[in-house]
């Protein structure tokens, strides 16, 4: 007796929701509006590390328009938990977009329990992306769950003629995203707490960065202390930095003014004015 490979199937009710959403998004876009919240199919859900999940959805609009450091609001099916959970866009393959998230509470636990073939509501892509117009050696520095935006950046930069990328990933223990970023980055360095942190790596590769014919530009996402340490390291060497910040958000699209950060230009919205801010904007030295 043979067993067929598991093929995810979408229920008839969910299929109707997907068709309705597809028509709704098409209608919005054809009238010149941004797609509203809509339902999409989950095409993959796998555990990368303990309580770290990689979810893939099928969404042609987000796949086509999503840029590195932009994010997508995800909604639970739970009427008690209405507020969106914003996740940074990771890899994009065809119509499919991947996201990496940690299970930190009941909302993300519900997401992690979903499977390929289930449906989920999304809104996006939201926020302003990393700027990668200049030809540069983009140094992608991420810590822990900060990896998705820089994975997206590595993928984007791989398609640019005049730029290259160097990934510098710091982990607590398991190097769960090295193989993903290695598909796109020209060089991958990673480290975990047994050996040091991302600054240890940056010190090690400093001469290599200086020797490169392309000027280094740091794109970073991760815990606040890590990003501040990178800012200090980069300021001393006069290396430009862009940081993708995280903050407790409300709507994700700029209407509620709940997710602000202090900048030299005043208190700005992380979701709509960011999430990407330069070192100079943040006043980090």
């Amino acid at each position: 007796m043979t067993t067929d490979a598991f093929i995810p199937t979408v229920s008839a009710a969910d299929r109707a929701k997907l068709e309705h959403s597809e028509a709704l998004v098409a209608s919005a876009v054809s009238h010149g509006w941004f797609p509203p919240r809509h339902t999409v199919e989950i095409t993959g859900m796998r555990e990368l590390d303990t309580n770290v999940m990689c979810m893939t959805i099928r969404d042609p609009y987000i796949a086509q328009h999503g840029r590195p450091a932009q994010f997508v609001d995800f909604f639970t099916h739970d009427p008690m938990r209405l507020m969106p959970r914003p996740f940074g866009i990771g890899e994009i393959n065809g119509d499919e977009v991947s996201f990496i998230f940690a299970v930190v509470g009941e909302g993300t636990r519900q997401f992690a329990a979903m499977r390929a073939g289930d449906v989920i509501d999304v809104l996006g892509p939201l926020g302003r992306p990393f700027r990668t117009k200049e030809d540069a050696n983009y140094v992608l520095v991420a810590g822990g769950l900060g990896v998705p935006p820089v994975i997206a950046a590595a993928q984007h930069i791989a398609g640019l003629e005049g730029s290259r990328s160097t990934a510098v990933f710091g982990y607590r223990k398991n190097h769960f995203a090295d193989d993903i970023v290695a598909r796109y980055a020209d060089t991958v360095h990673s480290i975990d707490e047994s050996e040091g942190n991302v600054i240890t790596v940056l010190d090690r590769i400093e001469d290599e960065l200086k020797a490169s014919d392309l000027p280094p530009v740091i794109l970073s996402c991760g815990p606040m202390p890590m990003m501040k340490a990178i800012a200090t390291w980069a300021a001393k060497r006069d290396i430009p930095c862009q940081f993708s910040l995280e903050q407790r958000m409300g709507c994700g699209y700029g209407t509620c003014v709940l997710c602000t950060t202090d900048t030299v230009d005043g208190r700005l919205k992380v979701c709509a004015d960011g999430p990407v801010f330069t070192r100079e904007q943040l006043g980090w030295e």
Binding site: A16, K17, H20, S21, A23, L24, S27, A28, S30, H31, W33, F34, P36, R37, H38, T39, F75, P79, M80, R81, L82, M83, P84, G107, D121, L123, Q247, R248, M249, G250, C251, Y253, G254, T255, C256, V257, L258, C259, T260, D262, G266, R267, A272
Partner: protein, 315 residues
């Protein structure tokens, strides 16, 4: 939610059931709720001039930075927020949001915030000659240390403030009330006797969440304002009570509306119109969707629709 949104939402639409609030015609009975509306953010999602009214976020005499740190926490079927009325100030509003909204033909309610009576007076005086259609006086924000709710819970202070503002403008003036009082009909009556043309209720309810890992409040301001579907029964009861006490004052009902059906409950409770607030935080086009759903529900209720169109209410 997204599966109930009509696909023809973006097509031109002829509204069938208008309302009137303090003499101002609304093409339908649904507006946005002040704290949740930023034109710069919403304008990508739908044509806001389709709404009965657009109530903009509170403006103060000078720019306010709002509260630092974490401003939000989720509650059961709700959101707790403590923005602290961050806004770019009335002068910016007069050259930016307001003319942009009037240019697209929106019916605009300008929400006025202040830390003291002089603040409110300065903003109202500046808006008196503006193209704003209505003014809404925010005496109910729970997240600022002065002004806001401290005025709205004290009928004597409220009466003094509204009496002063009444002399500064002929524009229809709405007073937005807080539910954080024992008897909401007391400030309601004080506002109306001092010259308010209409009342809007409810603003948010004081609440908080605690992080059980640290034992500390999630929001840096400790408490915030609760909004979302969880507050629907509270808002309805307040509207019912005020309508019973004040049979003639126009009322805009809000609190927990995320569907046409829930908007209809407010109209049966005695409101002339409604506003959609927190629902826009989890569905950007919620106000327009609610307006369309309500328009269909009013088709089946000609008696209620006729009353609203004539500036009257169900009860």
């Amino acid at each position: 939610m997204s599966d109930t949104t009509p696909i023809d939402l973006y097509e031109p639409y002829e509204w069938k059931h208008p309302t009137v609030v303090a003499g101002v015609p609304w093409k339908n009975p649904v507006g946005t709720a002040s704290g949740t509306f930023q034109f710069a953010a919403v304008r990508w999602f739908y044509d806001v001039s389709q709404l009965g009214a657009v109530c903009t976020k509170g403006v103060s005499p000078v720019p306010w930075e709002g509260n630092p740190g974490v401003r939000t926490a989720e509650g059961p079927a709700s959101n707790v927020n403590a923005v602290g009325l961050q806004n770019p100030g009335v002068d910016h509003y007069l050259v930016d949001d307001l003319p942009k909204l009037k240019k697209i033909g929106a019916n605009v309610i300008s929400n006025v915030a202040g830390r003291c009576d002089d603040d409110y007076a300065e903003v109202v005086a500046k808006l008196a000659d503006s193209p704003a259609d209505m003014l809404e006086i925010n005496v109910s924000c729970p997240n600022v240390s002065h002004g806001g709710m401290s005025v709205g819970t004290d009928p004597v202070a409220l009466s003094k403030l509204i009496t002063r503002l009444r002399k500064l403008t002929d524009k229809p003036m709405i007073v937005k009330l807080t539910p954080n009082v024992t008897d909401i009909t007391v400030p309601a009556r004080a506002a109306v006797e001092a010259g308010a043309d209409a009342l809007s209720l409810i603003n948010t309810i004081v609440g908080m969440r605690i992080n059980t890992r640290t034992g500390k409040p999630i929001i840096d301001h400790v408490t915030g304002g609760v909004s979302g579907p969880a507050v629907l029964p509270i808002g309805l009861a307040r509207v019912w009570q005020v309508r019973t006490a004040l049979p003639d004052i126009p009322i805009i009902g809000l609190g927990g509306i995320d569907s046409g059906e829930k908007a209809l409950e407010y109209l049966y409770a005695g409101a002339n119109a409604v506003e959609v607030g927190a629902a826009a935080l989890f569905d950007p086009i919620a106000p327009l969707r609610v307006a369309r759903e309500l328009d269909a529900l009013l088709d089946e209720r000609p008696e209620l629709a006729a009353k609203l169109a004539a500036g009257k209410t169900w009860r």
